[in-house]
Symmetry: C2
Subunit: 331 residues, 2 copies
């Protein structure tokens, strides 16, 4: 056993108790699985709610706070949150201006957020939704119709969160969230599998000299299994896949090099160096960047590259102050 846990069935609740102890600025209901910004609901402000399976921390619970999410509802590990949980989070943060659901495109998440939106409507809360489907690796997959939502979720939550903080209305906040998603693409590579605590064995097999190109954040299959390459080769595979889908030349980019959970930061910086060199060679500019584990897959080794084609307005909103456990700048 290499896991730092108590009861495998209690990992999410135990982690939420830890989150509550570490972050008194959040209201955490560990049993219900709801994390809310302490000052919510804020009258007249659009509320932002996201959620999904746990095991991807800091996504989403680490992004609750001023300038980003008003609430997160984590499900069990790699399992969608239930509708009642999402509805409770939604009503908790409605300040009368409506609530935006930011939903990664996995079938269970989509269905449960839709149901929750209907339940919230019964309580007179207006809900809009942004679907995040930034992963270019595969169309349709184990848990998805269409593309999967992955690293780009961080960009959508940050930028929509900044606009909501400024007082924009629900339609505008939803529109900017969709715009970010449309301008964002991601591609992940796994160097090792990960193990869901209650399962006790790896979600897939991967030889010590193999890697999976286009891995999903739950270990779903990607495009192909190939011999493990260098950081430069891995990053090139990711950026070529992204560039083929959304040309990058001439663009000013927001770039996330995202560690999947088991890859140390020194290697993430090696990968960022390779990303930076590839983009310079292909006529694109890194205008903003982030290096670290932001959308993880438990202890999976590997990296995901996410790229957003910025506009001046999206850049301004990215730069706006944010105060959450995992992202903090400005004031």
């Amino acid at each position: 056993m290499r896991k730092l846990i108590n009861d495998p069935a209690e990992v999410v609740a135990d982690a939420l108790r830890g989150l509550a102890a570490a972050h008194p600025e959040l209201r955490v209901d560990a049993d219900a699985g709801i994390v809310v910004r302490r000052d919510a609901p804020r009258p007249g402000k659009v509320g932002l709610v996201s959620g999904g399976g746990s095991g991807h921390e800091p996504l989403h619970v680490g992004f609750v706070g001023p300038g980003m999410l008003d609430a997160a509802c984590p499900g069990e590990v790699f399992t969608s949150p239930v509708p009642d949980q999402i509805t409770a989070a939604t009503t908790a943060v409605d300040g009368g201006a409506g609530v935006l659901h930011i939903v990664k495109n996995y079938t269970g998440d989509v269905l449960n957020f839709e149901l929750a939106a209907e339940l919230a409507a019964d309580e007179d809360v207006e809900v809009a939704a942004v679907l995040v489907d930034d992963d270019v690796a595969v169309h349709d997959s184990t848990h998805t119709a269409g593309r999967r939502g992955t690293g780009g979720t961080v960009f959508v939550e940050k930028i929509a969160g900044a606009l909501a903080e400024e007082g924009a209305d629900l339609a505008k906040v939803a529109a900017v969230g969709r715009e970010v998603n449309e301008r964002t693409r991601s591609f992940g590579v796994a160097l090792s599998p990960c193990t869901v605590p209650t399962a006790g064995r790896p979600t897939f097999e991967l030889g010590p000299d193999e890697m999976e190109l286009g891995i999903g954040i739950h270990g779903e299959p990607g495009r192909e299994r190939v011999p493990a390459g260098t950081a430069t080769e891995i990053v090139a595979a990711a950026l070529e896949a992204i560039d083929a889908d959304m040309p990058l030349r001439g663009e000013r980019l927001l770039v996330l090099v995202n560690g999947m959970g088991g890859t140390p930061l020194i290697e993430q910086y090696v990968a960022f160096g390779a990303v930076s060199a590839w983009l310079a060679d292909h006529g694109a500019v890194v205008a903003r960047s982030l290096v670290g584990g932001y959308v993880t897959s438990l202890e999976m080794a590997g990296v995901m590259v996410s790229v957003c084609r910025l506009t001046p307005e999206l850049t301004r909103l990215w730069d706006a102050p944010v105060q959450t456990p995992a992202l903090r700048w400005g004031r």
Copy 2:
């Protein structure tokens, strides 16, 4: 191969190139191994320099910036920086008020920082040093006479950095650094080994159901090898060792639950929950906290707990603004 690297011999330089691309606010000399705050030297401000072997990122390179270090000099992985490198960093940040070296207590680091201080003195730079030896696990070890310097280094660098930023003189900045070290204790537990890239095999063997209590950050032996326990048991072992050395009851504490590199954030929060519960049961208060990978050991799985007995003044300095790649708050 599970490493995301190019040439194993170039990992540190490649990572520094990535750091430079991601953080234009730093001046990075990837070949010389020197990372300097862009606005250094600042006239009249005491300069803070730290360094040590790489593989512990974000320590130290991720702590360069306003409110913390003026420069870091990373050595090769798990290898001390060389004296010339340290001297170059020291002279680069001297604004006429002298330079404080923050040195983790490993024999190579201590010797090389001492030599560098002599070389800097030849160039009329006044140097003082703080030795960090917070690890209660063992006296003397593979690389150390006396206790090892580990997670408490973050506390020393942050708090001394805050005082230097306020314009305190070298004697005062050194004194607060020593005070923090004296009030801080750490204890680490490994659930897996790690592999130095140029070695290509694990630094030690650990069975899948074993853990090493009191592990060093280079995989040096700790106190004992025992069957792997729960998060609650692991944390209790760490806190009992700390409490036996420095009683915690009645104290207001700064607590770091530090992931060693391969343990995902969800498990670090499970551990923090257990730390918080143990301290409450033993009459101590968590006044400030930090959860995440701040002093890592490549991809080692495991956790380290570091605890500092705060005073009002140390709390104020911990809360002071900091703007570095890895720690950011206030302004």
